[in-house]
């Protein structure tokens, strides 16, 4: 439930956020708005949730909003967000928008998709 609330306002301010923070991108750590759409509690869903929450905790501590949506529970959101495949992680911020499709098993690709670099 909380996830839904955090998701919507973040989307509205997306364009504003881009212009105001573009300059500061190099210094200030980027803020992340993520939405993970899963279908029920099957293996792929749980895998994806585990990987994403793990990455967020590790790399984006304090600067991310993650919403997890079960499309079975909220089918209208699947339509509105153009979800076809599950699981799908939508990276709403930072722009550009990205959709990560799959159970997030390919960690390298997930890292690239989220613009994360391993900490040195």
């Amino acid at each position: 439930m909380t996830s839904k609330k955090t998701g919507m306002p973040a989307r509205k301010s997306a364009s504003k956020a881009r212009s105001s923070r573009a300059a500061a991108r190099t210094k200030v750590p980027q803020e992340y708005v993520l939405k993970l759409y899963v279908a029920g509690v099957d293996r792929k869903s749980t895998d994806a949730i585990r990987v994403i929450t793990g990455l967020c905790d590790e790399y984006l501590q304090g600067r991310y909003k993650l919403a997890i949506v079960d499309i079975y529970q909220q089918p209208m959101l699947a339509r509105g967000e153009q979800i076809i495949a599950a699981p799908t992680l939508i990276r709403k911020l930072p722009l550009p928008l990205k959709r990560l499709v799959g159970n997030m098993a390919d960690l390298d690709k997930v890292m690239v998709g989220l613009d994360l670099r391993p900490m040195l």
Binding site: Y37, K44, I71, R79, Q82, I83, A85, R99
Partner: protein, 567 residues
Amino acid sequence: MPRAQSPRVKLQGIRKCPTGIRGLDEITEGGLPRGRATLVCGGAGCGKTLLAMEFIARGILDLGEPGVFVSFEEPIGDLTANVMSLGIDLRDLSRRGLLAMDEVQIERSEIQATGEYDLEGLFVRLGGAIDEVKAKRVVLDTIDSLFDGLPNEAILRAELRRMFRWLKAKGVTTIVTAEQGERSLTRHGLEEYVSDCVIQLDHRVRNQIATRRLRVIKYRGSKHRTNEYPTMINNKGLSVLPISSLGLSYPVSKARISTGIRRLDAMLGGRGYYRGSSILVSGSAGTGKTSFAAAFADSVCRGGQKCLYLSFEESPEQLLRNMASIGFDLKRWTTRGLLQFRSQRVTMYGLENHLANLHLWVEEFSPSTVVMDPVTSLVGEGLSDEVEAMLTRTIDYLKGRGITAFFTTLPKGGVQHEGSEVSISSLIDTWLHLRTFESGGERTRGLVVIKSRGMAHSNQVREFLLTDTGVKLRDPYVGSGQVLMGSAREVQEAEDQDRAREAKQAFERRQHDLEGERQKLEAQIKAMRLELKNLTEEIKAASGTERLRTTRRSQERRQLQISRKAD
């Protein structure tokens, strides 16, 4: 044993789901397989989306079956606007809860594959839409986009297979559209999954004229027609034109319609053409085919019947003017609504459009007679097969409705021969051939009835004139074993008269001579008779004297004897 047989008895063949698209249900013998998926494939712009959309819209409007349309390519707004021109208001249908539309957008550049996935997102959306309107029909248009957008084809294929199974389980009748592949039916081999029924659409261009075709490639569990059928898209949507929808079992009429030319009626057993028959008037340029057509149209309208006149060469105004000049006032019929002209250039559409237009007009106007002048304009180079097929269908269609069909044809290259350019002659009931005769420095028009089924007809070659008061047939000239026309005929007739007069005079003269002879002879006979009479009398007189003399001599001898006292 009987138990093993029972399931077989229960099978009743597959149930059909009518599409509501003109002609398609006839070809598929009732519609698409109900509760299964049908693949509609074809290249760009061949009408896949329209077919699918009509399936949904007709289902809702005509058959009371709600539908779901999932568009992978076109935005819903565009689709709505597109079909609005066909008189289908999708927004209204959605408002009434009979139609659910979903637009699936896939942006390849946004997507990053990270492992295994499934299509639950699509399933959820589709399922939601189906439940929302209690849909019986589903369209997925065009599913190829999924292949362009989603990674890992193996997963996608497995998921699609699962989706079709799922749709089948839901009991909805589905149309899936797909792009044509280069060597296969579809670019991504979808026929592998959707294999119950496959329909191929085609849009080809020959001689710069585009023709649409439709073919049912496969239909599991049902018989269907396998030919390619011309298809057209007009303001009423898509229609498929099955060639032999009627066969040869149409009712026939014994009623007759005048040809509009009095003496031509006489040539055709005295009463003209049969109602509902097909009439062909062939002849090279300028032989008066259109005049015959106009005469017939005039006659039909005079009888209070409606006539549809399709002209491929002249505009209605031009026709009206030209026909007025030979005494056919067709304008009064057009104003009374009995006569309708439709002029269109042949090159304007493909053949199937012409045919479909004909269907449309016939349905709108319901005429008793259709005139097509001339059908040979439809023949492009090397297309005569198609024209023949088209005319066969036209005649079939018109005959099936009891409509009299009147065609004119023009032999190619102006060659005068009795074969008609389009070999539809065997379909024709009454065939008149017009030709010109050139002799003595002039051209005259002649007419012959080549055939006329079911009536005694004249075998004479007749000359006819286009006069101020219509088409006039002249008496046949039947002298000296040849046909003469025009002034040659006049000359011949004058000559004949002279000759007759001369012969008469000669006869009279001879009679006179003979009479003289006879009289002479008679006079001779008279004279000879007189002579004979004289002779006879002379003979008589002579014999009298002789007897007298003999008697006298015997008397004298007796007296002598007496005097000599002899004994």
